[in-house]
């Protein structure tokens, strides 16, 4: 083996490295948005469930409120309502949003549930 074999033979398309940071930052933001929407959905379900619980339907059984939460989750997963629409049904949507944005932009943006490495090989 000699020095000439050390030459880098791997080429990249022109401008590849110029565009890459923008592409990766966009990908990162999309991931953040996905998590953000999931949190909106969870918060909306919780708040609406509580509203039903302490509001007009105060006399109903706990099973009834559990059923409402399940129904709301089904509506979201079936695409009948989206997370934003559910949020609009809440009594204090701005407070929920403020809380979610604060959480989403904290350092641990996507939580610690996902491992850094799929399988630590070394």
């Amino acid at each position: 083996m000699n020095q000439s074999q050390k030459h880098n033979i791997f080429k990249v398309p022109e401008g590849y490295f110029d565009e890459l940071p923008t592409k990766v930052l966009k990908k990162r933001k999309n991931k953040t948005r996905q998590v953000w929407l999931a949190r909106v959905a969870a918060a909306a379900v919780l708040i609406i469930g509580l509203t039903f619980f302490v509001g007009d339907f105060g006399g109903q059984s706990p099973d009834y409120y559990g059923q409402i939460e399940e129904d709301m989750e089904l509506w979201i997963s079936a695409g009948y309502w989206n997370e934003e629409e559910m949020l609009l049904l809440a009594d204090y949507p701005n407070e929920i949003l403020d809380f979610i944005i604060y959480e989403a932009w904290a350092y641990d943006e996507w939580g610690d549930d996902e491992m850094m490495f799929d399988a630590e090989i070394w």
């Binding site: 074999q5 880098n8 033979i9 791997f10 990249v12 890459l20 990908k27 990162r28 996902e114 070394w122």
Partner: protein
């Protein structure tokens, strides 16, 4: 210890107002070196692009866990190494027909892709390297092409310097024998 430039990048990332600028600076600083390491492992540009993007997305996600005991490059390299090896493992599991394994796809790419510009000898060397087990290939690339000191390779792979030296020595022997045969 983290170099001064790393400290500047980390300080930008720490503040929400300058975080994107910090991430951009981190990429501009290290993307070509990290890409080079990944590309030598996965060979195909499109695959290297995927693995590189995932490496940086993971790095951004976990940057708050970086403890500054090593250089940012070493830390990034470690993520890139794991991403590359995991990627190759997944590829292996997708191929069921022995004639069409991923190693052959990579070897063929070396001969046919417009994103390879080496001469016959350089391509032959790459094909000989491809025949090594993946971890040995990785150690060979780090030492031979990137001139990384054994101590840094040891930090990245969490393997003893002695074991790395032995692995590199075996890799060189195997490659030389392979080149002699052709």
């Amino acid at each position: 210890m983290a170099p001064n430039n790393d400290l500047q990048i980390l300080s930008l990332i720490r503040s929400p107002d300058t975080r994107d600028r910090g991430f951009r600076m981190l990429m501009e600083q290290y993307q070509e070196r990290v890409y080079g390491a990944i590309r030598k492992m996965v060979i195909i540009h499109e695959d290297a692009d995927d693995v590189l993007q995932n490496t940086f997305v993971k790095a951004f996600k976990h940057i708050h866990k970086f403890n500054q005991q090593s250089a940012l490059f070493t830390w990034l390299y470690r993520i890139a190494v794991n991403e590359s090896l995991n990627f190759l493992e997944k590829k292996k599991k997708r191929f069921f027909l022995p004639l069409e394994d991923h190693q052959q796809v990579m070897a063929q790419y070396l001969d046919t892709s417009p994103w390879i510009d080496g001469d016959v000898i350089q391509r032959r060397l790459q094909k000989a390297i491809l025949k090594l087990p993946e971890k040995q290939r990785l150690i060979f690339n780090m030492r031979y092409f990137e001139d990384l000191p054994y101590e840094q390779i040891s930090e990245i792979t969490e393997t003893s310097v002695g074991a790395l030296k032995a692995s590199y020595h075996h890799a060189v022997k195997k490659i030389e024998e392979d080149l002699k045969l052709e």
